[in-house]
């Protein structure tokens, strides 16, 4: 042990160096904004691209977007989606999903289903709080999914814009599919860009 190190040790002990060192950290934090926050009273701002709970969307006129094409089921890597489709009895030639289930306990939130959806009927929202006393409630059915979609409509749309899936409201319907008409009665007018 050299004289130098002895002196430093003595000085540190005499001047309570460790205490001042700790105080330095403390005073530094006294003057800067806290990093943690008081969840659930305070909530984090979430980016638009966040992949949260899935919701089903409607068009502005209230019609279901989903055409029951089952591409989400095919794309899903964790096999948590189940779609059962049929012909819409009121509107011949329109296919729709009679039942739609997402087992959110199995979902890995990859967002492939949203990407696969040809009509942008599925979107992810910023909702991430699923805690429940009963795991069975986590099998989202069609009604629940539309509820989520309705409640988080803004977030869902932002998600679609952020992922470049939907341009804006006006165009969205036109650049999407136009479905053939029924022989009984026309269900859609010919869109502008096609007539």
């Amino acid at each position: 042990m050299t004289v130098q190190t002895l002196t430093r040790k003595f000085l540190h002990a005499a001047l309570f160096y460790e205490i001042w060192d700790a105080m330095k950290v403390m005073f530094k934090h006294m003057f800067h904004k806290p990093i943690t926050f008081q969840y659930p009273r305070e909530q984090r701002t979430i980016p638009d691209t966040h992949r949260g709970a899935l919701g089903l969307l409607r068009y502005d006129d209230g019609r279901e977007r989903c055409v029951g094409c089952d591409l989400c089921e095919a794309a899903c890597p964790s096999r948590c989606i189940k779609v059962i489709s049929a012909e819409d009895p009121d509107r011949p030639l329109q296919r729709y999903a009679t039942e739609f289930y997402i087992d959110i306990t199995k979902c890995v939130f990859c967002g492939y289903c949203v990407e696969a959806c040809p009509v942008n009927a599925l979107a992810m929202t910023k909702m991430y709080e699923f805690s429940t006393h009963d795991k069975r409630t986590l099998l989202f059915d069609k009604k629940r999914l539309y509820d989520i979609g309705e409640r988080h409509l803004d977030d869902a749309k932002k998600y679609l814009y952020a992922h470049n899936q939907e341009k804006n409201l006006e165009e969205s319907r036109e650049y999407r599919y136009y479905f053939p008409q029924s022989v009984v009665k026309p269900t859609q007018t010919t869109p502008k860009h096609l007539s």
């Binding site: 094409c69 089952d70 591409l71 095919a74 296919r95 040809p118 599919y177 479905f179 053939p180």
Partner: protein, 895 residues
């Protein structure tokens, strides 16, 4: 553009050599270049090509470069010639093909998400393969969907005008129900004359459509191809034994598809002789009975006056106790059993084992008794075979086909496609003798409309004409001079003119038919319901064997006497010994070696020789009280047999009636115990089809409700009766059958059997031949003949439980009559008439039907409302015990 591939089996096409991608390839002269290229294993994309018909050349995908030509050529419509130098790959060809895809896509609606063909679409595959990502000038057709047809929807926006549907309909099936029509500026596929589609509804157009332009109404929008479980199985409707894919989602059957599809479009044209892979309306659209809500889900036991649902254990205990009780009190012969030929071979085998070992009785029969038994016994006696001798390939390649008493297109649609191919490709002469204007009669070269009930006389006439014209084959006849002398003297008294007058033909027509039949190198006789289900069926089959023998057709390759079966496994039922006169393997019941073998294998003593009763005898004994317990598996004698058989009275006297069926049938409603069985889609096993091919039946879905496969119920019942059977699966039963009947399964291929009539002709033939040609037709005093028979859209009573088929062919409740007769009687369509037979009369509406001959009327046998079947008298064959009840004389009066 028609390029006939070399399919004539009599002429060897010369071989040519050409160069494909630097390799020398030999091919037959006259075939399409595309076929030559695909035979080398190279696959060029082609959307309008299918090997079953001639190339059409509309899609423009099969482009190849031919040396000496500047532009690519379409290989499908180009004829392969010697010395061609062909290049099939290269960037220029890829670009040209890509252009063709873009051309199709630019007018395609791209509604893939809602399209049923999504994921099973050739255009999609082609767009993906060729990397088509954007389209310069896309436009839409906006053609409204044609939903007028009962089974198919035509969405012509998606059509790529490949004409596969039109070609398959016209060339392969010879129905010709579709055509192109220019409508709204586009070439569209429409039903003939732009009317609602009215055809055989086989749905082969749907199968070959490479896009989603033709969709199935029964499963529209219910599925995506990747969601379904696909099971290869055998159709449960007729004896053709078509292979099909049952596609299921959980506990629902979504659709049925066929091996014929745009997906397997490459093949040798000559292979279609074994079947083109399509289905008929029943197979493709009649699947809805499987998951029908009317299926029985739990066992029922009669308590008081009604059937009450009980657990399986209770029902089985009740059944076992009461069977055991009756056997103890009244002996084993107080028990009898009937089984349907819609069960698998394994179940039929198990059933007869149960009856003979567990119940120790020989009172058992199957629905083969309704007609097929006539053929089996005649063929067994004369030829020692007991089944048809020819397979589909022989039928297709025949030069002359004698179809007698068979409306083949209605009863066995896919066998009739074989005859159609014989007409179309192999240029066969088809002689059709029938008392109705049949579809085959229209297509065949020699249609003969005969008077109803004269099928037997027609054979007399043909034999007589053969002898008279000396068309006999010297070699065959010389071997058995005594037999031929007997036959000659038997037909000696027949006058061809008289026969001709009675049958409604002329003597010249008989001579023509006989000479065509005798002179063709490959002649086939096909007899069906008009022979085997009518009085004297057994004798008539023997007469047909005579005809084949004297013309030298017995044992010659590609010739023979054949029949078709109505139910899928009638042949299997006979082969498995479900008849009092047969043991498994078609051994006679008194065959001591087989009896010893079985007794050893089963570790039991078989019922004594001479005991046992067949269907009509069982019903008689039920009525007389000798039989006290009846075990009915899938059969429904109450709804099948006419009232004069007094089936209800017979069943009423029973102490115990156990019915095992997927549905609650009329017989089931009278039962004491009803056990729910599964349909063939929910179990494993095999069917033996009319060719003798053993075909796999595979489980496609879990059983509905608590229903259980028949073999499980049979095993449980046997174990309850004190046997120790340890069958865990249909495979276990199969291995037992394999041990007892070596070579029966034969990997699904029918064993080639050579008929040998020597024994029959040299033993007792002379005595029997004389009596055979004396059958005088019992002239009915009534002016009309009422015939009951099958419709194309139905099979037995089973198909009436499929709502889709009932939509296509509902029970109109009217008899069908010829337009001329209706006019003569002053009847309008729908008018009420009084129909009177010897057995009673009823009031019924009439409807016009072009296929009904004058002086006859027709009612489908599938329906009992109104009970037309009760007008029928029953004639039971003395030798085979076959009850025939499909024809009677009636008077028709306007009311």
């Amino acid at each position: 553009m028609g390029l006939k591939p070399a399919t004539n089996p009599d002429v060897d096409a010369s071989t040519i050599e050409l160069n494909i991608d630097g390799k020398t390839v030999t091919a037959k002269d006259g075939v399409s270049l595309y076929d030559v290229i695909s035979s080398t294993g190279k696959i060029i994309p082609a959307m309008c090509y299918h090997y079953t018909f001639d190339p059409f050349g509309s899609c423009g995908m099969c482009l190849v470069m031919q040396e000496g030509k500047k532009a690519p050529v379409r290989s499908c419509t180009a004829k392969a010639t010697a010395g061609m130098v062909i290049r099939t790959e290269g960037d220029d060809l890829f670009q040209a093909r890509k252009k063709a895809v873009e051309k199709h896509l630019s007018v395609h609606p791209l509604d893939c998400p809602v399209c049923d063909a999504d994921g099973h679409c050739e255009l999609q595959d082609m767009a993906f393969q060729h990397g088509v990502t954007n389209l310069a000038n896309a436009k839409q057709k906006f053609i409204p969907e044609d939903t007028r047809s009962l089974v198919l929807d035509f969405n012509m926006n998606r059509c790529i005008a490949c004409a596969e549907c039109i070609n398959v309909c016209k060339d392969v099936l010879m129905i010709d129900a579709l055509q192109f029509m220019k409508k709204g500026g586009f070439n569209q596929v429409v039903a003939k004359g732009d009317l609602p589609l009215a055809c055989e509804f086989c749905g082969d157009c749907l199968a070959v459509c490479p896009v989603g332009a033709i969709t199935n109404k029964f499963s529209k929008y219910l599925y995506k191809p990747w969601q379904m479980k696909k099971t290869t199985t055998t159709c449960n409707y007729c004896g053709d034994g078509c292979q099909m894919y049952v596609e299921t989602k959980d506990t629902e059957v979504i659709r049925v598809t066929s091996p014929l599809s745009w997906k397997n479009k490459w093949g040798d044209r000559a292979d279609t002789a074994k079947g083109h892979g399509g289905l008929c309306v029943k197979g493709r659209f009649g699947f809805e009975y499987i998951d029908s809500p009317t299926r029985l889900k739990r066992p029922l036991v009669r308590k008081g006056n009604q059937l009450v649902e009980v657990p399986w254990l209770e029902a089985m205990h009740a059944a076992v106790d009461r069977f055991a009780d009756i056997r103890k009190k009244h002996g084993p012969d107080a028990i009898a059993g009937l089984i349907t030929a819609r069960c698998t071979n394994e179940e039929l085998y198990l059933f007869q084992k149960l009856m003979r070992v567990a119940f120790r009785t020989n009172n058992l029969d199957s629905s083969a008794r309704y007609g097929h038994m006539n053929f089996v016994q005649a063929s067994k006696l004369a030829l020692g075979i007991g089944r048809t001798t020819n397979d589909w390939e022989d039928l297709t390649k025949a030069k002359a086909v004698l179809v007698i008493g068979s409306n083949l297109t209605e009863t066995n649609p896919l066998t009739s496609v074989r005859i159609k191919e014989a007409i179309r490709v192999y240029k066969a002469q088809v002689m059709v003798f029938d008392s109705a204007v049949t579809n085959l009669g229209k297509l065949g070269s020699h249609p003969f409309l005969i008077k109803p009930g004269t099928e037997g006389l027609v054979i007399d006439g043909l034999v007589k004409a053969t002898v008279d014209l000396d068309l006999v084959d010297e070699e065959s006849v010389k071997k058995h001079p005594q037999a031929f002398a007997a036959l000659k003297s038997a037909v000696g008294s027949i006058s061809l003119e008289q026969v001709a007058a009675k049958t409604g033909l002329t003597a010249e027509q008989f001579k023509e038919a006989a000479s065509i039949f005798a002179e063709s190198p490959r002649s086939i006789i096909l007899c069906a319901e008009g022979i085997v289900r009518r009085p004297n069926g057994y004798q008539n089959v023997l007469k047909l064997v005579d005809l084949a023998w004297i013309t030298g057709k017995l044992g010659r390759p590609g010739c023979g006497v054949n029949t078709v079966t109505e139910e899928p496994n009638e042949q299997g039922a006979v082969d498995m010994g479900v008849a009092p006169e047969f043991l498994p393997g078609l051994a006679s019941f008194d065959d001591q070696t087989m009896r010893d073998k079985l007794a050893k294998a089963w570790d039991a003593t078989l019922p004594t020789v001479g005991s046992g009763a067949h269907l009509t005898e069982i019903l008689n004994r039920c009525r007389s009280g000798h039989i006290r317990a009846l075990y009915v598996v899938g059969e429904n004698p109450l709804a099948t047999l006419p009232a004069s058989m007094e089936v209800r009275a017979a069943l009423d006297r029973l102490e115990l009636l156990v019915v095992q069926d997927p549905f609650l049938t009329e017989t089931g409603q009278m039962a004491h115990i009803v056990l729910p069985a599964t349909t063939s889609a929910e179990k494993d096993g095999t069917f033996t089809n009319l060719e003798g091919r053993v075909l796999r039946v595979r489980q496609g879905m879990d059983a509905i409700g608590e229903s259980v496969p028949d073999w499980q119920i049979l095993t449980a019942l046997a174990n309850g009766m004190g046997c120790q059977w340890e069958y865990d699966s249909a495979n276990d039963i199969q291995s037992e059958i394999m041990k007892l009947l070596p070579g029966y399964y034969n990997l699904g291929q029918p064993k080639k059997l050579t008929p040998n009539a020597d024994h029959y002709l040299s033993n007792g033939y002379t005595a029997s031949a004389a009596g055979r040609y004396k059958t005088a037709r019992s002239e009915s005093a009534r002016p009309f003949t009422l015939l009951m028979g099958q419709l194309l859209y139905h099979s037995g009573k089973l198909s009436t439980l499929a709502p889709g088929l009932m939509k296509i062919a509902p029970n109109t409740g009217r008899i069908r009559m010829n337009a001329a007769d209706m006019e003569r009687l002053g009847l309008q369509d729908g008018a009420m008439v009084k129909l009177t037979s010897d057995r009673g009369s009823l009031q019924i509406g009439v409807q016009v039907d072009q296929s009904v001959a004058p002086q006859t009327c027709f009612f489908p046998e599938h329906f009992n409302e109104p009970p037309v079947k009760d007008l029928m008298s029953v004639h039971v064959d003395a030798i085979t015990g076959v009850p025939s009840f499909k024809r009677t004389g009636v008077t028709i009066e306007k009311v």
